[in-house]
Symmetry: C2
Subunit: 255 residues, 2 copies
Protein backbone atom coordinates (compact mmCIF):
# COMPACT_ATOMS: atom_id res chain seq x y z
CA UNK A 1 0.00 0.00 0.00
CA UNK A 2 1.49 3.30 -1.15
CA UNK A 3 2.53 6.09 1.17
CA UNK A 4 -0.06 8.87 1.39
CA UNK A 5 2.16 11.49 -0.16
CA UNK A 6 2.69 9.40 -3.26
CA UNK A 7 -1.05 8.86 -3.50
CA UNK A 8 -1.44 12.59 -3.27
CA UNK A 9 1.21 13.52 -5.82
CA UNK A 10 -0.40 11.18 -8.33
CA UNK A 11 -3.17 13.73 -8.60
CA UNK A 12 -0.70 16.31 -9.83
CA UNK A 13 1.46 14.32 -12.21
CA UNK A 14 1.82 10.90 -13.78
CA UNK A 15 4.58 9.29 -11.78
CA UNK A 16 6.47 6.35 -13.20
CA UNK A 17 7.16 3.26 -11.11
CA UNK A 18 10.70 4.47 -10.76
CA UNK A 19 9.53 7.88 -9.54
CA UNK A 20 7.49 6.17 -6.88
CA UNK A 21 10.42 4.06 -5.77
CA UNK A 22 12.74 7.03 -5.54
CA UNK A 23 10.18 8.89 -3.47
CA UNK A 24 9.62 5.97 -1.11
CA UNK A 25 13.37 5.74 -0.69
CA UNK A 26 13.77 9.40 0.13
CA UNK A 27 11.07 9.25 2.79
CA UNK A 28 12.25 6.18 4.68
CA UNK A 29 13.29 8.03 7.83
CA UNK A 30 10.23 8.68 9.97
CA UNK A 31 9.78 10.07 13.45
CA UNK A 32 6.86 10.18 15.87
CA UNK A 33 5.59 13.31 17.58
CA UNK A 34 3.06 13.77 20.33
CA UNK A 35 0.05 16.07 19.96
CA UNK A 36 0.62 19.81 20.46
CA UNK A 37 4.26 19.61 19.61
CA UNK A 38 5.93 22.25 17.46
CA UNK A 39 7.78 20.78 14.52
CA UNK A 40 9.13 24.13 13.35
CA UNK A 41 9.01 27.61 14.86
CA UNK A 42 8.97 31.03 13.30
CA UNK A 43 12.56 32.03 12.62
CA UNK A 44 13.85 28.47 12.21
CA UNK A 45 15.74 27.23 9.19
CA UNK A 46 14.70 23.59 9.15
CA UNK A 47 17.29 21.09 7.92
CA UNK A 48 14.82 18.49 6.79
CA UNK A 49 11.75 18.60 4.63
CA UNK A 50 8.91 17.29 6.78
CA UNK A 51 6.13 15.21 5.25
CA UNK A 52 3.14 14.11 7.28
CA UNK A 53 2.59 10.37 7.12
CA UNK A 54 -0.04 9.97 9.83
CA UNK A 55 -1.99 12.43 11.95
CA UNK A 56 -2.77 16.09 11.45
CA UNK A 57 -0.48 19.09 11.86
CA UNK A 58 -1.02 22.74 11.10
CA UNK A 59 0.57 26.03 10.17
CA UNK A 60 -0.29 28.71 12.69
CA UNK A 61 0.52 32.14 14.00
CA UNK A 62 -0.18 33.75 17.34
CA UNK A 63 -1.34 37.35 17.58
CA UNK A 64 -0.62 39.87 20.29
CA UNK A 65 -3.58 39.09 22.52
CA UNK A 66 -2.65 35.41 22.52
CA UNK A 67 -5.23 34.30 19.98
CA UNK A 68 -4.10 31.67 17.54
CA UNK A 69 -4.96 31.42 13.87
CA UNK A 70 -4.45 28.13 12.09
CA UNK A 71 -3.67 28.90 8.45
CA UNK A 72 -3.45 25.42 7.01
CA UNK A 73 -4.03 21.81 7.87
CA UNK A 74 -1.22 19.44 7.03
CA UNK A 75 -2.83 16.08 6.37
CA UNK A 76 -1.09 12.80 5.57
CA UNK A 77 0.82 13.31 2.35
CA UNK A 78 1.33 17.04 2.81
CA UNK A 79 4.72 18.75 2.74
CA UNK A 80 5.46 21.15 5.58
CA UNK A 81 8.38 23.21 4.42
CA UNK A 82 9.30 22.36 0.89
CA UNK A 83 10.65 25.73 -0.10
CA UNK A 84 11.65 27.63 2.98
CA UNK A 85 15.28 27.35 2.00
CA UNK A 86 14.59 30.01 -0.60
CA UNK A 87 13.08 32.42 1.88
CA UNK A 88 15.74 32.12 4.52
CA UNK A 89 13.62 31.56 7.56
CA UNK A 90 10.15 30.40 8.51
CA UNK A 91 7.57 33.14 8.89
CA UNK A 92 5.17 30.95 10.85
CA UNK A 93 5.01 27.91 13.10
CA UNK A 94 4.17 24.33 12.31
CA UNK A 95 2.82 22.17 15.09
CA UNK A 96 1.07 18.86 15.46
CA UNK A 97 -2.60 18.80 16.36
CA UNK A 98 -2.82 15.07 16.94
CA UNK A 99 -0.05 12.51 17.36
CA UNK A 100 1.86 12.44 14.08
CA UNK A 101 4.17 10.21 12.17
CA UNK A 102 6.42 12.44 10.07
CA UNK A 103 8.88 11.55 7.34
CA UNK A 104 12.07 13.59 7.29
CA UNK A 105 13.66 14.04 3.88
CA UNK A 106 17.15 15.47 3.95
CA UNK A 107 17.19 18.75 2.11
CA UNK A 108 19.92 17.46 -0.15
CA UNK A 109 17.78 14.51 -1.21
CA UNK A 110 14.98 16.85 -2.22
CA UNK A 111 17.32 19.07 -4.18
CA UNK A 112 18.69 16.00 -5.87
CA UNK A 113 15.20 14.83 -6.77
CA UNK A 114 14.17 18.16 -8.22
CA UNK A 115 17.21 18.51 -10.41
CA UNK A 116 17.12 14.98 -11.78
CA UNK A 117 13.45 14.09 -12.06
CA UNK A 118 11.25 16.43 -14.00
CA UNK A 119 7.99 14.64 -13.21
CA UNK A 120 8.61 14.70 -9.51
CA UNK A 121 9.55 18.35 -9.66
CA UNK A 122 6.33 19.02 -11.49
CA UNK A 123 4.36 17.12 -8.88
CA UNK A 124 5.92 19.05 -6.03
CA UNK A 125 5.19 22.34 -7.75
CA UNK A 126 1.64 21.27 -8.28
CA UNK A 127 1.32 20.50 -4.58
CA UNK A 128 2.53 23.92 -3.50
CA UNK A 129 0.25 25.64 -5.97
CA UNK A 130 -2.72 23.70 -4.68
CA UNK A 131 -1.76 24.73 -1.15
CA UNK A 132 -1.86 28.33 -2.27
CA UNK A 133 -5.28 27.78 -3.81
CA UNK A 134 -6.55 26.35 -0.55
CA UNK A 135 -5.19 29.34 1.31
CA UNK A 136 -7.10 31.67 -1.01
CA UNK A 137 -10.31 29.75 -0.51
CA UNK A 138 -9.84 29.88 3.27
CA UNK A 139 -9.51 33.63 2.99
CA UNK A 140 -12.80 33.83 1.12
CA UNK A 141 -14.33 31.59 3.73
CA UNK A 142 -13.19 33.83 6.56
CA UNK A 143 -14.07 37.07 4.90
CA UNK A 144 -17.40 36.42 3.30
CA UNK A 145 -19.20 33.46 4.82
CA UNK A 146 -21.16 33.19 8.07
CA UNK A 147 -19.96 30.77 10.71
CA UNK A 148 -22.23 27.85 9.81
CA UNK A 149 -21.31 27.90 6.13
CA UNK A 150 -17.68 28.33 7.09
CA UNK A 151 -17.69 25.15 9.10
CA UNK A 152 -19.61 23.27 6.42
CA UNK A 153 -17.10 24.45 3.82
CA UNK A 154 -14.17 23.19 5.85
CA UNK A 155 -15.80 19.79 6.25
CA UNK A 156 -16.39 19.53 2.50
CA UNK A 157 -12.76 20.32 1.86
CA UNK A 158 -11.54 17.79 4.38
CA UNK A 159 -13.74 15.10 2.88
CA UNK A 160 -12.19 15.58 -0.55
CA UNK A 161 -8.64 16.02 0.63
CA UNK A 162 -8.80 12.94 2.82
CA UNK A 163 -10.30 10.92 -0.01
CA UNK A 164 -7.19 11.77 -2.04
CA UNK A 165 -5.04 9.87 0.37
CA UNK A 166 -7.47 7.08 1.02
CA UNK A 167 -8.56 8.32 4.44
CA UNK A 168 -12.20 9.09 3.76
CA UNK A 169 -15.05 7.00 2.42
CA UNK A 170 -17.71 8.45 0.14
CA UNK A 171 -19.54 10.00 3.01
CA UNK A 172 -17.46 10.03 6.15
CA UNK A 173 -14.06 10.46 7.73
CA UNK A 174 -12.34 10.59 11.05
CA UNK A 175 -11.59 14.06 12.39
CA UNK A 176 -9.58 13.75 15.60
CA UNK A 177 -9.51 17.47 16.34
CA UNK A 178 -10.90 19.28 19.35
CA UNK A 179 -13.53 21.94 18.91
CA UNK A 180 -11.01 24.46 20.18
CA UNK A 181 -8.68 23.58 17.33
CA UNK A 182 -11.47 23.86 14.79
CA UNK A 183 -12.38 27.24 16.26
CA UNK A 184 -8.78 28.44 15.88
CA UNK A 185 -9.01 27.39 12.26
CA UNK A 186 -12.24 29.12 11.44
CA UNK A 187 -11.56 32.34 13.27
CA UNK A 188 -14.27 31.95 15.87
CA UNK A 189 -14.75 31.00 19.50
CA UNK A 190 -14.84 27.50 20.84
CA UNK A 191 -18.26 28.30 22.20
CA UNK A 192 -19.60 29.52 18.90
CA UNK A 193 -18.08 26.66 16.98
CA UNK A 194 -19.87 24.26 19.27
CA UNK A 195 -23.15 25.97 18.48
CA UNK A 196 -22.49 25.78 14.76
CA UNK A 197 -21.79 22.06 14.98
CA UNK A 198 -25.12 21.56 16.68
CA UNK A 199 -26.81 23.72 14.09
CA UNK A 200 -25.47 21.68 11.19
CA UNK A 201 -26.46 18.55 13.01
CA UNK A 202 -29.96 19.78 13.66
CA UNK A 203 -30.28 20.76 10.02
CA UNK A 204 -29.50 17.16 9.12
CA UNK A 205 -26.38 18.16 7.19
CA UNK A 206 -23.86 16.22 9.23
CA UNK A 207 -23.57 13.79 12.09
CA UNK A 208 -20.54 14.01 14.35
CA UNK A 209 -19.87 11.50 17.09
CA UNK A 210 -16.60 10.44 18.66
CA UNK A 211 -14.64 12.44 16.12
CA UNK A 212 -16.29 10.67 13.23
CA UNK A 213 -17.87 12.98 10.66
CA UNK A 214 -20.64 11.50 8.58
CA UNK A 215 -22.23 13.39 5.72
CA UNK A 216 -25.34 11.70 4.47
CA UNK A 217 -25.96 14.00 1.53
CA UNK A 218 -22.67 15.43 0.30
CA UNK A 219 -24.26 17.44 -2.49
CA UNK A 220 -26.58 19.11 -0.05
CA UNK A 221 -23.77 20.05 2.31
CA UNK A 222 -21.73 21.43 -0.60
CA UNK A 223 -24.66 23.48 -1.78
CA UNK A 224 -25.19 24.82 1.72
CA UNK A 225 -21.51 25.69 2.07
CA UNK A 226 -21.27 27.32 -1.36
CA UNK A 227 -18.50 24.83 -1.97
CA UNK A 228 -16.83 24.60 -5.37
CA UNK A 229 -14.07 21.98 -5.48
CA UNK A 230 -12.22 23.66 -8.34
CA UNK A 231 -9.58 25.11 -6.10
CA UNK A 232 -8.36 21.67 -5.04
CA UNK A 233 -7.41 20.87 -8.65
CA UNK A 234 -8.22 17.19 -8.32
CA UNK A 235 -8.15 16.36 -11.99
CA UNK A 236 -8.88 12.73 -11.29
CA UNK A 237 -12.56 13.28 -10.58
CA UNK A 238 -12.56 12.66 -6.88
CA UNK A 239 -14.53 15.81 -6.39
CA UNK A 240 -18.25 15.83 -6.82
CA UNK A 241 -19.46 18.05 -9.61
CA UNK A 242 -19.94 21.55 -8.24
CA UNK A 243 -23.47 22.38 -7.27
CA UNK A 244 -25.07 24.58 -9.86
CA UNK A 245 -25.78 27.53 -7.58
CA UNK A 246 -22.34 27.24 -6.10
CA UNK A 247 -20.58 28.26 -9.31
CA UNK A 248 -20.17 31.87 -10.28
CA UNK A 249 -20.81 31.56 -13.98
CA UNK A 250 -20.28 35.19 -14.84
CA UNK A 251 -18.17 36.88 -12.21
CA UNK A 252 -19.36 40.29 -11.28
CA UNK A 253 -17.17 43.06 -12.58
CA UNK A 254 -14.79 44.23 -9.90
CA UNK A 255 -15.23 47.72 -8.62
Amino acid sequence: MPTPFILKLEHGADLSDEDRQVLEQAAREVRLFSPRHDLIREGNRPEYVHVIVEGIACRYKVVRDGGRQIMAYLLPGDFCDLHVSLLGEMDHNIGTLTACKVALLPRTAVEDLTTKRATITRALWWATLVDEGILREWLVNMGRRPADQRLAHLLCELLLRLRCVGLASDTSFELPLTQGQLADTLGMTEVHLNRMVHQLRKAGLITLRDHLVHISDVERLMAFADFNPNYLHLNKRLGTEPHREAVAKVPRQPD
Copy 2:
Protein backbone atom coordinates in the same frame (compact mmCIF):
# COMPACT_ATOMS: atom_id res chain seq x y z
CA MET B 1 14.91 54.01 -14.24
CA PRO B 2 14.27 50.29 -13.75
CA THR B 3 10.92 48.62 -14.24
CA PRO B 4 9.11 47.98 -10.95
CA PHE B 5 9.22 44.24 -11.25
CA ILE B 6 12.98 44.24 -11.56
CA LEU B 7 13.20 46.48 -8.52
CA LYS B 8 11.05 44.00 -6.72
CA LEU B 9 12.91 40.87 -7.75
CA GLU B 10 16.16 42.42 -6.54
CA HIS B 11 14.87 41.84 -3.06
CA GLY B 12 14.76 38.13 -3.68
CA ALA B 13 17.96 37.50 -5.58
CA ASP B 14 21.10 39.22 -6.80
CA LEU B 15 20.41 39.80 -10.46
CA SER B 16 23.28 40.43 -12.82
CA ASP B 17 23.17 43.24 -15.36
CA GLU B 18 22.50 40.62 -17.97
CA ASP B 19 19.60 39.20 -15.98
CA ARG B 20 18.09 42.65 -15.81
CA GLN B 21 18.45 43.15 -19.52
CA VAL B 22 16.87 39.82 -20.34
CA LEU B 23 13.96 40.62 -18.07
CA GLU B 24 13.46 44.07 -19.57
CA GLN B 25 13.46 42.47 -22.99
CA ALA B 26 10.87 39.86 -22.10
CA ALA B 27 8.52 42.48 -20.72
CA ARG B 28 8.60 44.93 -23.59
CA GLU B 29 5.02 44.32 -24.72
CA VAL B 30 2.65 46.32 -22.56
CA ARG B 31 -1.08 46.97 -22.72
CA LEU B 32 -3.41 49.40 -20.98
CA PHE B 33 -6.57 48.43 -19.16
CA SER B 34 -9.33 50.54 -17.70
CA PRO B 35 -10.43 50.22 -14.06
CA ARG B 36 -12.76 47.33 -13.15
CA HIS B 37 -11.68 45.25 -16.06
CA ASP B 38 -11.10 41.52 -15.71
CA LEU B 39 -7.70 40.44 -16.93
CA ILE B 40 -8.34 36.76 -16.32
CA ARG B 41 -11.44 34.85 -15.27
CA GLU B 42 -11.90 31.66 -13.33
CA GLY B 43 -11.58 28.75 -15.76
CA ASN B 44 -9.29 30.58 -18.19
CA ARG B 45 -5.95 29.27 -19.33
CA PRO B 46 -4.09 32.51 -19.94
CA GLU B 47 -1.56 32.53 -22.76
CA TYR B 48 0.58 35.29 -21.37
CA VAL B 49 2.13 35.91 -18.02
CA HIS B 50 0.80 39.26 -16.85
CA VAL B 51 2.98 41.62 -14.85
CA ILE B 52 1.60 44.84 -13.41
CA VAL B 53 3.64 47.86 -14.44
CA GLU B 54 1.35 50.65 -13.25
CA GLY B 55 -1.86 50.70 -11.25
CA ILE B 56 -3.39 48.16 -8.90
CA ALA B 57 -5.14 44.91 -9.76
CA CYS B 58 -6.42 42.13 -7.54
CA ARG B 59 -7.22 38.48 -7.23
CA TYR B 60 -10.83 37.96 -6.21
CA LYS B 61 -13.67 35.51 -5.90
CA VAL B 62 -17.39 36.04 -5.72
CA VAL B 63 -19.54 34.06 -3.31
CA ARG B 64 -23.11 32.92 -3.77
CA ASP B 65 -24.81 35.96 -2.30
CA GLY B 66 -22.84 38.24 -4.60
CA GLY B 67 -20.29 39.36 -2.06
CA ARG B 68 -16.75 39.72 -3.30
CA GLN B 69 -13.57 38.83 -1.50
CA ILE B 70 -10.31 40.30 -2.70
CA MET B 71 -7.56 37.82 -1.89
CA ALA B 72 -4.50 39.73 -3.05
CA TYR B 73 -3.41 43.08 -4.31
CA LEU B 74 -1.27 43.05 -7.41
CA LEU B 75 0.94 46.11 -7.21
CA PRO B 76 3.44 47.33 -9.79
CA GLY B 77 6.05 44.62 -10.17
CA ASP B 78 3.75 41.75 -9.21
CA PHE B 79 3.17 38.69 -11.36
CA CYS B 80 -0.44 37.68 -11.92
CA ASP B 81 -0.33 34.15 -13.17
CA LEU B 82 3.19 32.85 -13.17
CA HIS B 83 2.39 29.21 -12.59
CA VAL B 84 -1.14 28.53 -13.67
CA SER B 85 0.11 26.47 -16.59
CA LEU B 86 0.86 23.75 -14.07
CA LEU B 87 -2.60 23.76 -12.58
CA GLY B 88 -4.50 23.71 -15.81
CA GLU B 89 -6.96 26.47 -15.22
CA MET B 90 -7.41 29.54 -13.05
CA ASP B 91 -9.34 28.98 -9.84
CA HIS B 92 -10.04 32.68 -9.32
CA ASN B 93 -10.39 35.96 -11.18
CA ILE B 94 -7.92 38.74 -11.69
CA GLY B 95 -9.26 42.21 -12.32
CA THR B 96 -7.97 45.75 -12.32
CA LEU B 97 -8.97 48.07 -9.51
CA THR B 98 -7.53 51.22 -11.07
CA ALA B 99 -6.36 51.86 -14.61
CA CYS B 100 -3.41 49.57 -15.22
CA LYS B 101 -0.45 49.25 -17.48
CA VAL B 102 0.33 45.55 -17.79
CA ALA B 103 3.31 43.80 -19.38
CA LEU B 104 2.51 40.60 -21.23
CA LEU B 105 5.28 38.03 -21.28
CA PRO B 106 4.74 35.17 -23.70
CA ARG B 107 4.59 31.94 -21.75
CA THR B 108 7.40 30.53 -23.88
CA ALA B 109 9.66 33.41 -22.93
CA VAL B 110 9.11 32.70 -19.27
CA GLU B 111 9.78 29.02 -19.71
CA ASP B 112 12.92 29.90 -21.58
CA LEU B 113 14.04 32.21 -18.81
CA THR B 114 13.46 29.66 -16.09
CA THR B 115 15.38 26.92 -17.81
CA LYS B 116 18.36 29.04 -18.76
CA ARG B 117 18.78 31.50 -15.90
CA ALA B 118 19.05 30.07 -12.43
CA THR B 119 19.10 33.43 -10.69
CA ILE B 120 15.96 34.61 -12.39
CA THR B 121 14.24 31.33 -11.61
CA ARG B 122 15.22 31.75 -8.00
CA ALA B 123 13.88 35.29 -7.97
CA LEU B 124 10.55 34.21 -9.44
CA TRP B 125 10.23 31.44 -6.88
CA TRP B 126 11.02 33.86 -4.14
CA ALA B 127 8.25 36.13 -5.39
CA THR B 128 5.62 33.40 -5.34
CA LEU B 129 6.68 32.27 -1.88
CA VAL B 130 6.39 35.81 -0.59
CA ASP B 131 2.91 35.99 -2.12
CA GLU B 132 1.98 32.89 -0.18
CA GLY B 133 3.35 34.43 3.00
CA ILE B 134 1.23 37.51 2.43
CA LEU B 135 -1.82 35.34 1.91
CA ARG B 136 -1.19 33.64 5.23
CA GLU B 137 -0.85 36.94 7.01
CA TRP B 138 -4.10 38.16 5.46
CA LEU B 139 -5.79 35.07 6.81
CA VAL B 140 -4.54 35.86 10.30
CA ASN B 141 -5.70 39.41 9.82
CA MET B 142 -9.20 38.31 8.88
CA GLY B 143 -9.53 35.65 11.49
CA ARG B 144 -8.06 37.21 14.57
CA ARG B 145 -7.93 40.98 14.39
CA PRO B 146 -10.70 43.54 14.89
CA ALA B 147 -11.61 45.83 12.03
CA ASP B 148 -9.49 48.81 13.04
CA GLN B 149 -6.31 46.78 13.47
CA ARG B 150 -7.09 44.97 10.25
CA LEU B 151 -7.16 48.19 8.29
CA ALA B 152 -4.04 49.48 10.02
CA HIS B 153 -2.26 46.24 9.21
CA LEU B 154 -3.14 46.50 5.54
CA LEU B 155 -1.83 50.05 5.40
CA CYS B 156 1.45 49.01 7.00
CA GLU B 157 1.85 46.25 4.45
CA LEU B 158 1.11 48.54 1.55
CA LEU B 159 3.62 51.09 2.80
CA LEU B 160 6.40 48.50 2.79
CA ARG B 161 5.41 46.83 -0.45
CA LEU B 162 5.14 50.10 -2.29
CA ARG B 163 8.50 51.22 -0.94
CA CYS B 164 10.01 48.14 -2.57
CA VAL B 165 9.09 49.42 -5.98
CA GLY B 166 9.82 53.05 -5.27
CA LEU B 167 6.19 54.09 -4.93
CA ALA B 168 6.12 55.14 -1.30
CA SER B 169 8.13 57.61 0.70
CA ASP B 170 9.14 56.99 4.30
CA THR B 171 5.76 57.96 5.59
CA SER B 172 3.21 58.14 2.80
CA PHE B 173 1.88 56.71 -0.42
CA GLU B 174 -0.89 57.09 -2.91
CA LEU B 175 -3.77 54.66 -2.56
CA PRO B 176 -6.20 55.18 -5.42
CA LEU B 177 -8.75 52.67 -4.18
CA THR B 178 -12.38 53.10 -3.31
CA GLN B 179 -13.55 52.48 0.23
CA GLY B 180 -15.77 49.80 -1.26
CA GLN B 181 -12.72 48.08 -2.69
CA LEU B 182 -10.90 48.27 0.63
CA ALA B 183 -13.96 46.83 2.32
CA ASP B 184 -14.00 43.90 -0.12
CA THR B 185 -10.38 43.31 0.80
CA LEU B 186 -10.81 43.37 4.54
CA GLY B 187 -13.98 41.35 4.71
CA MET B 188 -16.18 44.14 5.98
CA THR B 189 -18.82 46.58 4.85
CA GLU B 190 -18.15 49.81 3.03
CA VAL B 191 -19.96 51.55 5.85
CA HIS B 192 -17.89 49.96 8.55
CA LEU B 193 -14.66 50.52 6.68
CA ASN B 194 -15.49 54.19 6.49
CA ARG B 195 -15.94 54.28 10.23
CA MET B 196 -12.63 52.54 10.81
CA VAL B 197 -10.84 55.06 8.60
CA HIS B 198 -12.28 57.87 10.66
CA GLN B 199 -11.32 56.07 13.84
CA LEU B 200 -7.68 55.69 12.82
CA ARG B 201 -7.68 59.30 11.76
CA LYS B 202 -9.13 60.46 15.05
CA ALA B 203 -6.56 58.38 16.91
CA GLY B 204 -3.87 60.30 15.05
CA LEU B 205 -2.52 57.15 13.43
CA ILE B 206 -3.08 58.13 9.82
CA THR B 207 -4.22 60.96 7.64
CA LEU B 208 -6.04 60.15 4.42
CA ARG B 209 -7.01 62.82 1.92
CA ASP B 210 -7.57 62.56 -1.80
CA HIS B 211 -6.32 59.00 -1.83
CA LEU B 212 -3.06 59.99 -0.21
CA VAL B 213 -2.18 58.03 2.91
CA HIS B 214 0.16 59.71 5.33
CA ILE B 215 1.50 57.93 8.40
CA SER B 216 3.22 60.32 10.74
CA ASP B 217 4.48 57.70 13.17
CA VAL B 218 5.02 54.42 11.35
CA GLU B 219 6.23 52.58 14.45
CA ARG B 220 3.12 53.54 16.32
CA LEU B 221 0.83 52.35 13.56
CA MET B 222 2.73 49.06 13.33
CA ALA B 223 2.46 48.56 17.07
CA PHE B 224 -1.25 49.28 16.94
CA ALA B 225 -1.74 46.85 14.06
CA ASP B 226 0.37 44.09 15.63
CA PHE B 227 2.37 44.27 12.42
CA ASN B 228 5.50 42.19 12.01
CA PRO B 229 7.15 42.67 8.61
CA ASN B 230 8.86 39.25 8.66
CA TYR B 231 6.37 37.73 6.29
CA LEU B 232 7.35 40.10 3.50
CA HIS B 233 10.90 38.74 3.52
CA LEU B 234 12.46 42.04 2.59
CA ASN B 235 16.03 41.12 3.33
CA LYS B 236 17.24 44.52 2.25
CA ARG B 237 16.11 46.27 5.40
CA LEU B 238 13.26 48.26 3.92
CA GLY B 239 11.10 47.11 6.77
CA THR B 240 11.20 48.90 10.06
CA GLU B 241 12.30 46.72 12.92
CA PRO B 242 9.29 44.89 14.32
CA HIS B 243 7.77 46.51 17.35
CA ARG B 244 8.72 44.67 20.49
CA GLU B 245 5.23 43.73 21.57
CA ALA B 246 4.38 42.72 18.05
CA VAL B 247 6.72 39.74 18.07
CA ALA B 248 5.69 36.45 19.54
CA LYS B 249 8.97 35.50 21.16
CA VAL B 250 7.85 32.14 22.46
CA PRO B 251 4.91 30.86 20.45
CA ARG B 252 2.24 29.29 22.56
CA GLN B 253 2.06 25.54 22.27
CA PRO B 254 -0.67 24.52 19.85
CA ASP B 255 -3.62 22.69 21.26
